[in-house]
């Protein structure tokens, strides 16, 4: 069988842990998000019932899985096909956010190779922010005809 050129199939081990990746979402990053997505909700920019403005819940939702994959593999040819998120608590602006994950599954469907990444985010105080699962195609190149 041929394999993804950049992520050899046999090197994808179900159960392997990924990360952590860490970053701080500051006021400027939130303003950039609101501008790019044209979503100037005041709970992100002014105030919220949670005590001050909060990070948009979809900030990097469905992106961190690619970043986690990239900690072990060359993921530049990958493409997201499914994304799932459960929002546990809002993230406060200025907090360090830490995301860890694992390879939960891998499968081949219609000749395309996929990995399933389960991952979760907490803030620097240990507050759980988000739980996620993404299905990622290793590339759009078919490795088999079936």
């Amino acid at each position: 069988m041929d394999m993804s050129k950049h992520i050899p199939w046999d090197s994808v081990i179900v159960g392997d842990t990924l990360g952590p990746i860490e970053y701080v979402v500051d006021k400027e990053a939130v303003e950039q998000y609101c501008d790019d997505w044209k979503d100037a909700n005041p709970i992100y920019l002014e105030d919220s019932p949670f005590g001050g403005p909060v990070v948009p819940p979809a900030f990097r939702a469905g992106l961190d899985s690619f970043r986690l994959l990239a900690t072990k593999f060359d993921s530049h040819a990958t493409v997201g096909v499914k994304t799932e998120h459960e929002y546990i608590n809002p993230a406060k602006i200025g907090k360090r956010l830490i995301t860890t994950g694992k390879i939960a599954d891998k499968y081949i469907k219609r000749g395309i190779e996929y990995v399933v990444i389960e991952y979760s985010m907490v803030d620097e105080d240990g507050v759980e922010i988000r739980r996620s699962v993404d299905h990622i195609a290793l590339s759009v190149e078919r490795v088999t005809d079936s």
């Binding site: 979503d39 939702a61 992106l63 990958t78 799932e84 998120h85 929002y87 809002p90 590339s139």
Partner: protein, 137 residues
């Protein structure tokens, strides 16, 4: 159309969110020859052009749900999306929609289950999925 409330009925549609798709990195980054963000490569694979990232589309759907549920979406909201039909390209006009499919009473309020989807152009679905959020009692 209906706003989220404890009286929201099954079958009611959410107020849609309309956007012109934009991903900054598609304008500012030169992608590798076999990246799905490379126009020539994706066209060669049968797509209309470089694919907008799934996280960007997830952000648009999130706006639909935050508008509908309000801040309660950030504590207990759930979303699952599958991307289909060739995805979205830079500058596409997209519309995010949803309809209430179920009301479930649970501790602290009523959970509304929803079918959600994203259309581009003349109604081609490019993302489909489920979402749910809690309306406080």
């Amino acid at each position: 159309m209906v706003a989220a409330s404890k009286d929201a009925k099954v079958g009611s549609e959410m107020p849609p969110v309309r956007k012109k798709s934009y991903q900054r990195s598609l304008d500012e980054t030169v992608f590798m020859a076999d990246s799905i963000h490379n126009n020539d490569y994706t066209r060669g694979k049968g797509y209309a052009g470089a694919l907008t990232s799934s996280y960007v589309l997830c952000g648009y759907m999130s706006e639909l749900l935050v508008n509908f549920f309000g801040p309660s979406w950030l504590k207990g909201g759930q979303i699952a999306l599958t991307f289909i039909n060739g995805g979205v390209q830079q500058g596409d006009e997209i519309t995010c929609r949803g309809v209430i499919t179920e009301r479930v009473e649970e501790k602290g309020g009523i959970r509304l289950n929803l079918d959600i989807w994203m259309e581009k152009g003349e109604g081609v679905k490019v993302a489909v999925g489920k979402a749910s959020g809690i309306i406080k009692a």
